[in-house]
Symmetry: C2
Subunit: 293 residues, 2 copies
């Protein structure tokens, strides 16, 4: 029998995570252990693992230096076990966990990530219709020079359709956002295969397919590179709002944007300094122990 | 906040289940609650839910009458919340749970299911390389008259290939087993879409694609009706062994068959009276509580 580890499973708009508390700096998880935890059939299942570590005990020097500003470090891993800088919806789920466990009692604080500090704002009771908001950090158009007069710099090819015009942005990670023509049904798109982006981004790209629904309100579906279609993607939702705002002539998004994803509804807000905030519901669904293989 | 329910998550060759103990006949789960428990992102995740109920407290009269023979009733639900008669790998996971909890201490006993009694045999320590075997009950060729001289009664169409010859069997539920020609790579088949069976079975069919590997040893992939490709299917593994045995001229399978599925290795054994037994490894991976929505 393997080692027994405590866990909490939670999700933000159905982007789901295995939270593993390491409140006393308990031993690290290997890449294989993380991949097993995220395996939806052999293990527990999740889009990623969030180890909750006191910042002063982080293994990484650069993270440890954030200890005076942030009590907790979000040690985030992708489902394949690789290290990741951060994850927007994951940050929100971590904040829900810290609130419930009494590890952060205030409504505003910073957490440490491999991408630096991220500011958390809790609005209302996150376990009763409240929201958790997180700063996603700075964003930018990937290549502002490349965009044509209409604001497009790429084409996205989805099986069975003419290519869609798109624009590429960086929101911590690369996104290509495509606007759907009026006559294309967002729900009916076949995203089993990865949409093809031309020109092809060197490091690949997450692809968002977006349909305007009203004033500052869009619906989107997302295909994450290396993963496939997911129910939600926090930075993707931000990218979708930022792209539609850009096409409408606002280089900075004005007001709050509502982004409907298959897993729920997110709010995107432009922050001063070309940063962007993501807010939405969170849920902690299960707690227990898991026996590592 | 919803009700808090205890759970154990386990799997048999990566066919995974949420086990919910109702040892004192605790209240039933609604179809919506079961579907939520099996939701891999919003809930906990599983191919089905196994409620563990004392047989004498079962809601169903026919099940309750099995109480003198079987202490525990496997109240099995599909991932969509619907009632199901039983599930081969699920029965094995339930047996592992009963063993670990000290609820069945012997190596042989019967459990009650909606399909009647099922006999369990534990071989060795199921938590240390041992196996759990379950009788799957009677099996039969769906239409012995329809099979041609080579033993085929159907064609299975998989995208990108000429149709494969197949035979249909009932192993508690309907299966159509197709033999792959030598030049077709089992691992490379595209099963994202359901294989098409002709003539089309009225109630649909689970489809197994089988490649012989050696003496009484086959590899298979399975596409379950209404679900898609899965990592394992107990009755499907039995159907695969029974079909290949039938094609080899043995109406009853002689000896033990080894069936490799994507999630592991199963053993299939013919029992007297045209019944069939499924054996394989089991794992209980996590325990805890889940908060129903």
């Amino acid at each position: 029998m393997g080692e027994v580890v405590r866990f909490t499973k939670g999700h933000g708009t159905e982007n789901d995570f295995v939270v593993v508390p390491a409140l006393d700096g308990e031993r690290d998880l290997s890449a294989d252990e993380v991949a097993w935890l995220c395996d939806r059939r052999a293990g527990l299942g999740g889009d990623g693992v969030i180890r909750v570590v006191p910042t002063e005990l982080a293994a990484d020097d650069a993270v440890r230096r954030l200890a005076p500003q942030a009590r907790w470090f979000m040690d985030y891993r992708n489902a394949d076990g690789s290290l990741a800088e951060m994850c927007g919806n994951g940050t929100r789920v971590l904040a829900a966990y810290l609130r419930r466990e009494g590890l952060q009692t205030g409504d505003e604080y910073d957490i440490a990530t491999r991408a630096g500090l991220r500011h958390i704002r809790v609005e209302g009771d996150p376990f009763d219709a409240g929201l958790v908001a997180t700063n996603l950090g700075p964003w930018r158009l990937t290549d502002p020079e490349a965009a044509d007069l209409k604001g497009f710099d790429a084409l996205v090819h989805v099986s069975g359709h003419d290519p869609f015009s798109a624009v590429s942005l960086e929101v911590g990670n690369p996104h290509t956002v495509a606007a759907l023509p009026e006559d294309v049904d967002l729900g009916a798109l076949n995203l089993l295969r990865a949409p093809v982006v031309k020109p092809t981004p060197a490091a690949g790209s997450n692809v968002e397919l977006v349909r305007p629904l009203g004033v500052r309100h869009v619906a989107m579906r997302v295909h994450e590179r290396g993963v496939g279609e997911t129910r939600s993607c926090g930075t993707g939702a931000a990218a979708a709002a930022l792209a539609v705002s850009f096409w409408s002539g606002d280089a900075e998004p004005a007001g709050d944007w509502t982004v409907d994803v298959p897993g729920g509804r997110l709010r995107v807000r432009g922050l001063p300094g070309h940063e962007v905030e993501l807010a939405g519901p969170v849920a902690l669904v299960a707690d227990g122990t898991v026996t590592l293989p």
